[in-house]
Amino acid sequence: MTLLSVEGVGIDFGGLRAVNDVGFSVSPGEIVSIIGPNGAGKTTLFNMISGVYRPQRGRIALDGTDVTGMAPNRLAERGLSRTFQNLQIFQRMSVLENVMTGCHLRERGPVLGDLLSLPSSRRRSAATSARANALLERVGLARAAEREASSLSYGALKRLEIARALALEPRILLLDEPAAGCNAVETEEIDHLIAEVAKSGVAILLVEHDMKMVMRISGHIVVLDRGEKIAEGAPATVSRNPKVIEAYLGTQAAEAGDAVG
């Protein structure tokens, strides 16, 4: 059963083929990783899947429905959630408010009720606050709930973004380098969190440079190089693929037959 299917998508920036003819699929509870050298088009692919960019070629379907070029907020309504490589935190809001905003689709209501602080509006806020606190507990940030988000460390901000993305109760979660800049302990925590989320039936699409982590948790790996898919398969297969080794380490290494990882 496929939740997300990407078929032959591509986009050009000026004369550059940033992504070309990439396809793969993700099922509920599956962790699929997209790897590749810097500039391979991983984040661009993420931006197309999450509706930030409109693909110029190909088709993206979510649960059988064509969602190619759909706006990010519409995709969120269909259960697609994401984090960002370069962090997109709501800096001037508290840690708790950041996660509460992740519950927007559940807590939104008539603006008039919000202006007059009607009981229905207060109830929605209170319910969201409880949910957000539970999520902060889950990512280990409960004690920082009232702090301004901009005061958190980089590793904590990464976890905050994950909590905010989970607040949407996604069916598919796109994580763009969730462990970047995190120390070994933090990486392991994120690792566990991702596995746990996948176990609950959420499809996960992961971009990550930490190869140990990718090899450990992915069920399936898609390898990009210069915007094209050069390999895909189970971690063990992909790491022995000569094309992959070449893309990562150059031709010499490929000839020597070194494994990635």
């Binding site: 997109q88 709501f90 800096q91 809001m93 927007h104 949407l168």
Partner: protein, 319 residues
């Protein structure tokens, strides 16, 4: 967790106490008048806090909505036979509709493009008010009907002189405006607005309909501006197209930024200081504007977040 007063209630209590207690220190009726002006400006800047401070969208044309509100009170009683109080509500409704109509195309613009587009709107309104002299009275302005509420209050035994009545009326309006804006701040819509201010792309990915929320903030702030314009017209019993002018727009944005653009009490403090300062500095005669300009520059250089947020941060830092 212990029960404590929320920041919203604390802010409202302090504001209400200041409004209620200030008259104890007034040496003459003239100060009621200054107070009323502060409150009218305070109402307008609260609307700008919603638009600029929460949603992060600039407007240099909000005096246009003040003009609509003011001239609704000036014209509707004569031409349509509406009670001035209803004219005020009608003006607010009209401003909301106009904001909704022009907001849809112009809120797609960002930064200084949006600033110039809103600027154009403000100029348009003030030109129409100045040129349609047959209806509006033109640049010389026009008289505004009596609200009539004061005599109604006198009839039930609440006797206030004119200055005192307007002090109370504008003060209560400003407090109500502050209450509404503070409600919004901590509500689902308010969080979404502040989120899109910080990162539009992240706000979209959590499901925020950015275009719709920006439009709502624009309409809300237009209603604030309109009500403040109406109050000004009813209080002065006279209005000129200057109420919709560019200078008036800039003055109110300045007050907001000066006091603290993200903070309702901050912006109100900004309105108070920049309404009072010119009065206080008149003793300096020809140097008045020089000193005023200097103070504004110094505050923005050393207190970039605005007067109140910067002061609060400094106080917290000392604790």
């Amino acid at each position: 967790m212990t029960m404590r007063l929320s920041r919203k209630h604390l802010t409202l209590i302090v504001l209400a106490a200041l409004v209620a207690l200030a008259p104890a220190f007034f040496p003459s009726n003239f100060y009621y008048r200054i107070g009323s002006l502060i409150f009218v400006n305070g109402l307008a800047v609260t609307g700008l806090v919603v638009l600029i401070g929460f949603a992060g969208q600039i407007s240099l044309g909000h005096a246009g909505f003040a003009g609509i509100g003011a001239y609704a009170c000036a014209l509707a009683p004569g031409y349509l036979g509406l009670h001035p109080g209803l004219a005020m509500l009608g003006g607010a409704g009209l401003s909301g509709v106009v904001a909704w109509l022009i907001g849809r195309p112009i809120l797609r613009l960002k930064g200084y493009y949006l600033a110039v587009a809103t600027l154009g709107f403000g100029i348009l309104v003030s030109m129409v008010l100045a040129n349609e002299a047959g209806i509006t009275g033109g640049p010389d302005g026009r008289e505004v009907a009596e609200l009539g509420l004061r005599s109604a209050l006198a009839a039930i035994g609440i006797g206030l002189n004119n200055a005192q009545f307007w002090y109370a009326a504008t003060g209560l309006s400003m407090l109500a405006g502050a209450w509404v804006a503070l409600n919004l701040h901590d509500s689902p819509s308010g969080r979404a607005l502040r989120a899109l201010h910080d990162s539009e792309v992240a706000a979209r990915t959590v499901g925020v309909d950015v275009a719709r929320l920006k439009l709502q903030a624009f309409v809300i702030s237009a209603v604030y501006a309109s009500l403040s314009g109406s109050l000004l017209a009813l209080m002065n019993r006279f209005i000129t197209p200057d109420v919709a002018g560019f200078l008036h727009s800039v003055e109110q944005v300045t007050m907001t930024v000066f006091g603290g653009v993200g903070s309702v009490p901050g912006a109100i403090l900004g309105a108070a200081v920049l309404t009072l300062l010119p009065q206080a500095l008149t003793v300096l005669q020809q140097y008045e504007n020089l000193i005023l300009g200097l103070i504004m520059m110094l505050v923005m250089i050393f207190m970039r977040d605005g007067l109140l947020p910067s002061l609060m941060r400094r106080l917290k830092g000392r604790e």
